[in-house]
Amino acid sequence: EPEVTQTPSHQVTQMGQEVILRCVPISNHLYFYWYRQILGQKVEFLVSFYNNEISEKSEIFDDQFSVERPDGSNFTLKIRSTKLEDSAMYFCASSEWLRNEQFFGPGTRLTVL
């Protein structure tokens, strides 16, 4: 069964460093998303992406964040200058079409020291 994959599973970085989280969505899906979950809190929407551009972004998704689909399979989230409060589990998701099931990857646990 096709699934969303994410790498790395765990990333430790120093405050102020740049990180890139990678995702491979399900191959025939057209919509891509990033969510995050701070430990013990709700899953929060960050951004949606369709047709090579951002469809919507939350207030969390400020200028420090960017997304890219560099090729036909990968979808990346970049945080330019990490802060302590960026420590969270980051989930990538994809859906075949708008308002369909969103399938999530296993997540990348980001720890900012």
Partner: protein
């Protein structure tokens, strides 16, 4: 606005019993999705119910949706120890192209099934 608030926050049952959890939301929705999350792991999609549907089944799962009450329930029948997890509802309330596909999650119900 807050969407998708589950109750109870926690549920402890014996294997073989049924588990029911509820989700309430505040605005009109396109669909509501239920997910399972094992501790520290990813979100596993369980079922999607659209706003024009009232009930849906998938294996031992039964989901209902009452749009007049803005609520949904998830029933797990004949629970197993492997059903121990947190269960979340997530609403897709996107009404315009300004909010495409954004899911809003609740805080979840933590279910413990003891053998």
């Amino acid at each position: 606005s807050q969407q998708g608030e589950e109750d109870p926050q926690a549920l402890s049952i014996q294997e073989g019993e049924n588990a029911t959890m509820n989700c309430s939301y505040k605005t009109s929705i396109n669909n509501l999705q239920w997910y399972r999350q094992n501790s520290g792991r990813g979100l596993v999609h369980l079922i999607l119910i659209r706003s024009n549907e009232r009930e849906k089944h998938s294996g031992r799962l039964r989901v209902t949706l009452d749009t007049s009450k803005k609520s949904s329930s998830l029933l797990i029948t004949a629970s197993r120890a492997a059903d121990t997890a947190s269960y979340f509802c997530a609403t897709d309330a996107s009404q315009t192209t300004d909010s495409w596909g954004k899911l809003q999650f609740g805080a979840g119900t933590q279910v413990v099934v003891t053998p």
